[in-house]
Amino acid sequence: MTDTRRRLVLAGHGMAGQRLLEAVTDRAPGAWRITVLAEEPRPAYDRVHLTSWFSGTTAEDLSLWPAGFAAEHDIDLRLDDPVTAVDRAARTVTTRSGHTVAYDALVLATGSRPFVPPVPGHDTPGCFVYRTIEDLEAIRDRAAHTGVGTVVGGGLLGLEAAGALREMGLHTHVVEFAPRLMAVQVDEGGGAALRRRIEELGVVVHTGVGGQAVGAGADGTVDSLTLSDGRTLATGMVVFSAGVRPRDELARSCGLPVGERGGIVVDTRCRTADPHIWAVGECAQAADGRVHGLVAPAYAMAEAAAEDITGGDGAFTGYEAATKLKLLGVDVASFGDAHGTGDGALEVLYSNTRAGVYKKLVVAPDGRLLGGVLVGDAAAYDLLRPLAAAGTPPATPPEQLVLPTPEGGAAGPVTLPDEAVVCSCHNVTKGAVRAAVSEGGCADVAAVKRCTRAGTGCGSCVRMLTTLVDDELAAGGAPVTKGLCEHFAHTRAELFEIVRVKNVTTFSRLIDEHGSGGEGCDVCKPVVGSILATLNPRLGNSVHILDGEQAALQDTNDHFLANLQRNGSYSVVPRVPGGEITPEGLITIGEIARDFGLYTKITGGQRIDLFGATVDQLPLIWRRLVDAGFESGHAYGKALRTVKSCVGQTWCRYGVQDSVALAIELELRYRGLRSPHKVKAAVSGCARECAEARSKDFGVIATSAGWNLYVGGNGGMTPRHADLLLTDADHATLLRTIDRFLMFYVRTADRLERTAPWIERMEGGLEHLRAVVVDDALGICDELDALMARHTETYEDEWRATLEDPERLRRFVSFANAPGTPDPTVRFLPERGQIRPAREHEAVAAR
């Protein structure tokens, strides 16, 4: 039987080529007999994440060629056999091995080749490009034999390559001809901030100079690079990353038109001048006259061509470039018209040179966002890029999004129009994500990813995706559980009542009897841990949060009674009630910090934070602190942190009450109280408010007649002033009211809900709160008072109690099978006379 299928030949099996195969077989299964002629020795792989190969991602991990794909679609994939000629009249192609393959449709997806400047010595052994897995293998082999590497080209790819060399422990230079790094994407100010960030990674940056000549040593391999300003860098390898050129040679030799600067000319359907030949990806010059060097437009072109080939009508008209650097630790993003070249474009600038943060937005006179550059802090990128693509003035002025609190409350993806592209790798709009939830039945982010592909490209949109999916679930008809998590259909407040009323003493019982059973998760476990911590005295449980089953419920900070820092070390904060400390106390803390080599910093809560302790050191440090009379500051817990104070009447000329004494009393009264979120407080000695009490969960300000109590304030991301609850209260009334306020909060607030949103959420707001805690409208004040009394009676210092119990101490080892061996990856380097965490590559070099 003869095969009646039409013949599709694909030249080039890269990212665009594979996307084309998927689209064609998806739209017209079985309609085409497909032959793929590939130059590389392996099927298509994820070139975008190529660099991750250096950190252990295998070629198999990167592969885009699903097992069984060839068999399912009867695709003849011939590796290592590139097309060498096209005969348009005969409609055949010839391959390097001499085979001839006939086609009805030919798609050229040959990508581009790295441009190597023709400097003398550019082909010396030790010179590389950065495009394929084979290139990386060669670079890695060379890196094992040299200590210095130089990247020529300071663009996106060049910096990625430099980061990789640095990670391999090489001393690394970047040489860039333009006056700044990433000249295409970022402007001058952004370039300067970026340079600072890159230099912090330990990469030496040379801008405004080119590579002039590569020098070779006695063994004939690279040993230097001479720059255009006459300097010579000693280097064992040179990686050229000076741009790419479209691989349009097949088209040229068969007479198809190519663009002035290269690239096979195609129309919006990605057809070349020959109706039987298409070109997609980086080898093509798209209908907008440009050659696009990113995967998103390459995919879009593959889709358009597949549509056309299978009889549909897709189109690729152009693409607004947007970039986010994938270099570890450096936030840089640019999108849209980043240089403000459009008519009448205005600039909004935020720049903080000291912090290495630079943000610029380009705005049209009518308020539309045209583009921007973010360096040092690209948190707003997710939101800004779709706004720029949307073409209508955004509801939130974009400048609000780049001010120092980028996530500042109000503005979320809610403000985006439905047409806004959320995932630019796969061109998924906000509307499509919403539809996947409301109509497609996707109930979580993972399902939306599978269904829309959003978030599966570079991954930078996943955070926003999560918010969108949650919003849509909440807004839609989908049954929205206000439950904590998949294990409990209850809120924190409901669980608190269950535990309290039914005397449930353990998590196991609670989840087995009132939840889903099973293991629980990182949401419900700490919540239940916190509820038990409050109710333990009443339940007759041990009050120590590390005892019995409770140990398994605690977040890592509570579990080690210290605060986890970015390199896996911990910080230690002894309590300094009211911020009052004796010279002896200061000296003791100083000595301990010095003896253990800790970094010290004064906190905003008027105490001293000691950083850089390993898990093994924590009990040793606390032994000394406890012996000197210090106790846990609970900086690690969702608990009362500090009661800050001003110096007050005793010293201050204006003070009208002793604010320090009251702050100490309050801090000792509420220390150790576990709560839905952290609780901060302050006391000021007069209306001048030097302790900033109104920015706290509860704040007390002295009056000549007594104390004013304010509640529900906070600093942080959404600052809010506290509201007045009591005026001119006496000491007893003040304490009683704060007791009730705190216990009512602990009992009824949601997980991670500060007092401000808790009060705002309350029906009746502040007035209702006043009715409950001042007028006892609910008749629960006796109970609240009793709970607080139990708390103060049973309080014990968690650290002292831990040191007394060998069972509790057993967890403070880095390795269960090697107690006494500290984690070798926790490393420090000196900075400004103290230590700082070594970054991962620095640690490697130091080892």
Partner: protein, 142 residues
């Protein structure tokens, strides 16, 4: 303390190594062990099953996975990194929240195979985890 020993071997094959006593592991929590310079995080769930994955958190580069909270997501046993809270499937090491870490490296943790063997002084009957749990530790993908 007597009782079973926890033995692990690389997911890709290799020798079994005893790393600690089963009773050293707190139900519902993790612990790290050091084997030939590799840091491995061990977890024992409420049902008694033991899992072993790499201790390095790909999102932060810090070796802290063992200090994460153990939990379940759907049918998957997971550990949630204490650093930036991504969940990892303990059976496969796959990250359930993000496909790739910031550097572009894949977000997965390497998985080690786990088995329990009786300590010299214990009898063979100790092999199955307590709580009547099925012998689930052999969950690694190769």
């Amino acid at each position: 303390m007597t009782g079973p020993l926890v033995e692990i071997a690389p997911g890709t094959g290799g020798d079994w190594r005893a790393v600690c006593a089963y009773h050293d592991l707190l139900p519902g929590r993790g612990a790290a062990v050091l084997v030939d310079g590799h840091q491995i995080a061990l977890f024992r769930d409420r049902g008694g099953a033991v899992y072993a994955v790499g201790n390095r958190d790909p999102f932060s580069g810090a070796h802290v996975i063992s200090r994460g909270i153990l939990g379940s997501r759907g049918t998957a046993p997971v550990v949630v990194s204490p650093m930036y809270k991504q969940a990892f499937d303990l059976r496969t090491g796959a990250c359930l929240d993000e496909p790739a870490a910031p550097g572009g490296e894949p977000a997965a943790l390497p998985v080690w195979r786990v088995r329990l063997t009786p300590a010299a002084s214990a009898c063979a009957g100790d092999v199955a985890p307590p709580n009547g749990g099925a012998h689930r530790p052999e969950t690694a993908r190769s």
